[in-house]
Symmetry: C2
């Protein structure tokens, strides 16, 4: 037995969507990281298949959304079916509605098998850098030792793993080939994204409550042969006596059916899940669909699951070992929410780990992960519980107005309503604490002691939520781009200066004052930027004005808005105009959509995950200074 | 010397964009085809860089547009600069306008280097099938023998080539490795897309007129370091004494400059093009840009070219050997038109060759290539000539209103105005021949003798032009798709039934009558479909109605609109609704955009290249029958 020891900043255990999202951040931030998985390959088909708006936005921030958008199925319509009032053996369509999830963001809800999504992540990792999934890895032990946390030797976590050699022919050395090889990995941080039966969670001794019910559902991904008219829309179907089912149209010709199996609602019921086959699931579905018939020739994937919500009480240990995704929250799959929340868990976490490892952010920001994501998981559990009851209850009031019932979850499902804070990363707002006096210029002593955002400067940019994206026009190019496309997930903070109508001299003068401060070598922009990095490497300044574009000359603006590089010339990709000129009718005015005053504008500090951490006026420099002083790490400067 | 003989349906000589488009069709149509190139690799950078709307639509019909759209530079604004009236040594911006090419189709004009576009084609070919570019091929002789045109042995063309072995190690056989290998390829059809110095054209003895002038331009692709404010828009610039230049912003930070070199307009001028370097081109540009300065650190590509238009008198020999792209039309590159017209040449041609080879279409359709594309090339020459004069003329009336001057070419440049016919593939319209009596039901004897389209049924679907694409809603799924996305380049003809408001019984009855005829085994749909093929393999029926979508049940419509397959169930992807319901405000109503009556509808026959070949009413079955009888080949049927 040979054992070697290696060192990492971050080890990710489990290469499902949550782990792969974590790895994508680690790759983008160029961390010394590893991602391990116990299986030989990715998921091939089936499993999680729903992607909601916010997840698509996040994938797009890494350049990963387009292939999914092209290959997946749009979910634009939902139909509800219930027993016919005059014949309980027949179902009839009782409602048909457009959930319009696309109104919450740039994407429509879509469905595609999990393997496609995982492959997309794997393609990204391969293109982006050296990080790739290590497969066939067995995790053997995990130790955490606080004594190993010092400035010199900050590797408190020791993970023992074993793995077979890769078997590539140039490495084959006789009998060694099949010997398991033990390795000790000493790491600063560890993330368990290893699913509902998480080995990592078990090592931490964390319990998931036993929320399992006795209700079993069958799932089949088939090409349906049917006369049921709504098979290509998403349906919620209740029959009188034969149970409930739900459908999701999928990529290609596939449709997913979630089918309630047997009379599982009553206590004492024992369903032998061993005897279930895809054929029995389809036959059950065909019964529920009566008078319509369902058959299939091709089944792509199938499974049986038990309804229940389980939820870990804690998402981290000492802000060093973290858990995410199914490892801390499992539930039923019918709303297509699970993969989304899981991916969003690690999207929330790993930029923080990365910035702490690189000495950009203060370690205290890591405390926000548990707070921010546990609240989301709780809402998820609540929604899933209500949804399970809805299917178990059979036809009734909620089933008759499914649009209304489902409506209560719509915004949460879309992912765009997730609101973080108040916490160290998201200061409270005056509006939430109206008793606190608002200070116009941030110099008031009481306000300094506790920092407040001014939610009043915008109606639709909500402190703690992700910035909604709208189309804007590049000042130099007239190219039309989504705001999110200039907020790529590259680890940078952004000062988004909504400069207002700078064709008016007074407003231009406000912008110039702001830029004068920001351009000063003593400003916070430079204070947190390492010596060897570009000035916009940690905090990037972006500007969107509301003046007629042709009245603004980019090169007449303060240079910090179009920095000069001796080899590359000016940067033409930081200044934009809202759209109320020139390209009339093509799309809406971003300022109006955001509910921001076009004369005055405002300023938003955006976290690297596009969430709004601070909102204020163009003069609120001291507040921003205060904000960053609590979050980022001052960098040593050359004299 | 070893010589082998092989057989092909089509040989393409030259793997630039025109040749690669030809190969894409050949691959999609599964032709026994080859594509040969004399160079070792694709273009790496520079060269053609402009892509207009129609080219993007065509690329998208093969699934190739998205990567280009993502990576390329949008060209949305054009600026015109002219001498300052009070100081002839300074230029000033005199005009700024949005050409709005995107209003003509789904895409904005974009710019990216030719290598990226070629790679996109190569990726498509690799994914699509076995056809790949054979490189390092020397073409040695070409013979055409009419005697070899018989039903049994239809290989009138003999091409002799030599090539080195590929050098892959498993094929290496000692000294053989480097020996040139001669091969005789006997082929039914041959296409020369081998550029301005076309070897193929020379073999045919075809002349290109000598249209060269003495005017020379330099081209550089650089990352500009400049204080010129409009460097990220496309500019037309005239100085008083130092010449003209034009710019195109490009992908990444690149900008292309076309720079008039020296006083080349006067006769007797001799510019030594050997002495030109990228630095001299940039310096010249800097002079023209005065008072602004231009410098660069990085130059990606550069070249020198001579203004002139050259044009072959004939694009084919015996409808067996064809020429396309630069092989038959060369001109100056300033409008970014050349690659577009070249790609459109072979997009026009190769589906015709494919259908003739496969016995689907009658050989006579091949006569339309020369007619359809020569007319386009003539317009291209005319535009280029005017544009060259514009730059040569210096500041003047046209330069002062560049928007107006350029406007005359805008629609042609976009590619969407290209109108084919009247010819065998595009019958004349009553409107063009008002003296001919219009027959309501197509049974009138005079009308039968010569077939006419009814242009009157639509204002914006123009006979001979490509069908404009608008968003529609899938009847079964409520998914929102562009009409072009259901008109993929797969070689199929389409009957696009714009069925009107079928919630009204009288209109539904018209649709039912049409479908009853079409579904009859004696209908033309089946007459031209081979025995072993699916019913929609040659002519696909697509339907877009204008009724409220919720008033239509797909499965209640005639089955030919949602054909049943015993293994795959119904086809849910042939029926759509226009959008004036449900998704209000998101996009416009396709019927209104097309100028089609929503009550009555109409029917359009679309060629495999999305061009409209026939327009009529839902009753004009005999006309369509007549149309196809002149174009397609009846298939032998089993009894």
């Amino acid at each position: 037995m040979r054992a070697k020891t290696s060192y990492s900043d971050l080890v990710i255990i489990g290469a499902g969507p949550a782990g792969l999202m974590a790895a994508s951040w680690a790759s983008r931030l160029q961390l010394n990281a590893r991602i391990l998985d116990d299986k030989a390959d990715r998921i091939q088909n089936g499993r999680a298949d729903g992607l909601h708006v916010r997840t698509m936005e996040i994938l797009d921030s890494f350049g990963m959304a387009t292939p999914i958008e092209k290959a997946s199925q749009q979910i634009r319509e939902i139909c509800s079916w219930n027993p016919h009032p005059e014949d309980e053996n027949r179902i009839q369509r009782t409602q048909r509605f457009l959930p319009k999830e696309e109104d919450f963001g740039r994407y429509c809800q879509v469905a595609i098998h999990q393997g496609f999504i995982e492959q997309n992540f794997l393609d990204f990792l391969e293109k982006d850098g050296p990080l790739s999934v290590e497969r066939n890895i067995k995790t053997e032990s995990l130790e955490f030792d606080k004594a190993d946390m010092s400035a010199d030797n900050d590797y408190p976590i020791t993970l023992r793993i074993s793995h077979k050699r890769s078997g590539r022919s140039e490495e084959a050395q006789g009998a060694d080939l099949e010997l398991p090889e033990t390795e000790f990995i000493k790491t600063k941080y560890l993330l368990g994204t290893d699913g509902g039966h998480s080995w990592t969670r078990q090592q931490l001794g964390l319990e998931m409550g036993d929320g399992k019910t006795r209700r079993h559902f069958g799932v089949i991904d088939i090409i349906p042969i049917t006369d049921f008219p709504d098979v290509r829309t998403s349906c919620a179907i209740h029959s009188t006596n034969t149970g409930s089912l739900m459908t999701i149209p999928r990529e290609g010709r596939l449709v997913r059916f979630y089918v309630q199996l047997g009379e599982t609602g009553s206590s004492g019921d024992e369903l032998d899940t061993e005897k279930i086959t895809p054929r029995t699931i389809a036959d059950k579905a065909s019964e529920i669909l009566s008078p319509y018939k369902l058959d299939y020739d091709f089944c792509d994937w199938w499974s049986v699951y038990t309804i229940g919500q389980r939820f870990a009480s804690q998402f981290d240990l000492n802000e060093r070992i973290f858990l995410a995704g199914d490892a801390v929250h499992t539930h039923s799959p019918t709303m297509g929410a699970g993969m989304n929340v899981s991916v969003q868990d690690t999207y929330n976490l790993v930029w923080k780990i990365g910035q702490v490892v690189k000495g950009i952010a203060q370690p205290r920001v890591l405390s926000t992960y548990n707070a921010e994501r546990e609240a989301v998981a709780e809402k998820l559990m609540d929604m899933d519980h209500k949804m399970s009851e809805f299917y178990a209850a059979g036809p009734g009031k909620d089933a008759r107005n499914y649009n209304k019932f489902r409506g209560q979850f719509q915004r949460f499902l879309s992912g765009v309503s997730v609101e973080y804070g108040p916490n160290i990363l998201v200061p409270d707002t005056h509006e939430r604490n109206p008793s606190t006096p608002e200070s116009q210029n941030g110099s008031d002593k009481a306000a300094r002691a506790q920092l407040f955002s001014k939610q009043s400067v915008s109606r639709k940019i909500i402190v703690g939520q992700r910035l909604p994206s709208h189309l804007v026009i590049n000042q130099a190019e007239a190219s039309i781009v989504h705001v999110h496309s200039i907020l790529r997930s590259d680890g940078r903070w952004r000062l988004l200066v909504l400069a207002g109508d700078i064709s008016k001299p007074a407003q231009m003068s406000r912008l110039e004052s702001l830029c004068e401060y920001l351009a000063n070598p003593s400003s916070f922009v430079y204070a947190y930027t390492p010596n060897n990095a570009k000035n916009d490497a940690v905090i990037e300044i972006l500007m969107i004005h509301a003046a007629p574009r042709e009245k603004v000359e980019l090169l007449d603006l303060p240079e910090i808005l179009h920095p000069f590089d001796p080899k590359l010339g000016y940067d033409y990709w930081k200044c934009f105009s809202n759209n109320d000129q020139g390209v009339e009718g093509e799309f809406s005015d971003a300022y109006e959509e955001w509910g921001v005053n076009k004369d005055k504008g405002c300023i938003a500090v955006l976290r690297p995950d596009q969430h709004v951490s601070y909102l204020g006026d163009l003069e609120d420099i001291k507040d921003m200074e205060h904000y960053f002083s609590q979050v980022l790490q001052p960098q040593k400067k050359r004299n």
